[in-house]
């Protein structure tokens, strides 16, 4: 689908001095900013598609299947910090190390 190229658009070709950050705020340049109704706007196929996609991705059958698949891979046992999250009120276990905030993001593969 050609419209999808928009989401992949920022590639390592050319680009200005802000190219790294430009990618992070590209939707603002395409979808915000001053619009003058009597002027013409060039066709910018892509952004609208990109925004619609964002909604589809969190709500479609494909997203549900992906969530189920990722959940199926998670090993919820054998890790005390995570079991600690089961405590009422979201209490944190005492053995949680200082770096636990990032540790929570560590992937555990089963087997």
């Amino acid at each position: 689908m050609t419209e999808m190229t928009m989401t992949q658009m920022p590639q390592a070709t050319g680009g200005g001095r802000l190219s790294g950050e430009l990618y992070k705020v590209v939707e603002l340049i395409l979808d915000r900013g001053l619009v003058i109704d009597v002027f013409v706007r060039v066709s910018v196929i892509g952004l609208e598609v990109l925004t619609i996609d964002a909604r589809v991705i969190v709500a479609g059958v494909d997203a549900y299947l992906r969530f189920a698949e990722v959940c199926g891979r998670l090993d919820l046992t054998g890790s005390s910090p995570r079991i600690g999250r089961l405590l009422p009120g979201g209490a944190v276990p005492l053995e949680l190390p200082g770096s636990a905030r990032t540790d929570v993001g560590v992937t555990q593969r089963k087997g």
Binding site: G16, K24, I29, G33, I36, F39, A63, Y64, A68, L86
Partner: protein
């Protein structure tokens, strides 16, 4: 010849354009179109223009260069005026509105905040906090994944839990940062972000904003992280709409 329009500013603006070129393959020179107290930065419009990275970067570079020297109203990418006279007519008829907008954003910049979730850590937390989902997940695992229908139904429940957290954490981001901004505007939804929101921040308020951001980062769950982009020209605060 039609004009590609980059931004509108006050005629008193120094408008440094050295070194910058316009959008399009032929890198046209930048020009100023003046009318009374206002000025527009334009270049000859290319025959074919699509939102390629190169042209977006040029648009942003021109706006950024002018913005670095004073207040500007950045145009949305891709605005074309049929000729100089059309630009002058617009500056004349919209003079009051543009003056108001320029006054409102004087001394301010835009900070864009995007929040993302580390997905596996988020889902782990969702399961650990929700007995029903955790039991269903275990049952599906025991059944070798379950049927297509079971997976869709389970995934939909997980998605609802994720959406609830996304909404909650987006609310947290806005609530903590809003007190340090003159205006707030949600950005368009962006794939992979649970929140995309821009703040119009006064130059002097940046330390307070950053302080609130540090507290916010400590307060959010470990699977959520927020990035801040800017200072940017106030793209989100020059539209016709006033939101939030």
């Amino acid at each position: 010849m039609s004009n590609y329009v980059y931004c509108v500013s006050r005629a008193s603006h120094p408008l440094p354009l050295e070194g910058a070129v316009g959008v399009g393959e032929h890198a046209p020179a930048l020009r100023l179109v003046r009318e009374q107290d206002l000025v527009a930065v334009v270049s000859a419009a290319p025959a074919h223009l699509r939102p390629k990275r190169r042209d977006l970067a040029k648009h942003d570079a021109v706006v950024g260069q002018v913005y670095a020297a004073g207040t500007v109203l950045p145009m949305r990418f891709g605005m074309i005026a049929p000729d100089d006279e059309a630009v002058r007519t617009e500056l004349r008829s919209g003079a009051r509105r543009y003056d108001e907008l320029l006054s409102r954003i004087d001394g301010h910049f835009e900070l864009n905040v995007k929040g993302v979730h580390a997905e596996e850590a988020l889902l782990r937390d969702v399961l650990l906090q929700n007995d029903e989902l955790r039991v269903r997940n275990q049952a599906l695992r025991a059944a070798g994944g379950g049927s297509h229908q079971d997976k869709v139904a389970f995934g939909e429940q997980v998605a609802a839990a994720v959406a609830e957290r996304s909404a909650r954490e987006a609310g947290q981001v806005i609530a903590r940062l809003q007190p340090h901004a003159a205006q707030v505007r949600r950005g368009p939804p962006v794939d992979g972000c649970f929140v995309n929101v821009s703040f119009l921040v006064a130059s002097g308020a940046r330390p307070d904003f950053d302080g609130a951001l540090s507290r916010l980062r400590r307060e959010l769950p470990g699977y959520a992280s927020v990035g801040v982009y800017g200072p940017l020209p106030p793209y989100s605060f020059v539209g016709n709409e006033v939101e939030m």
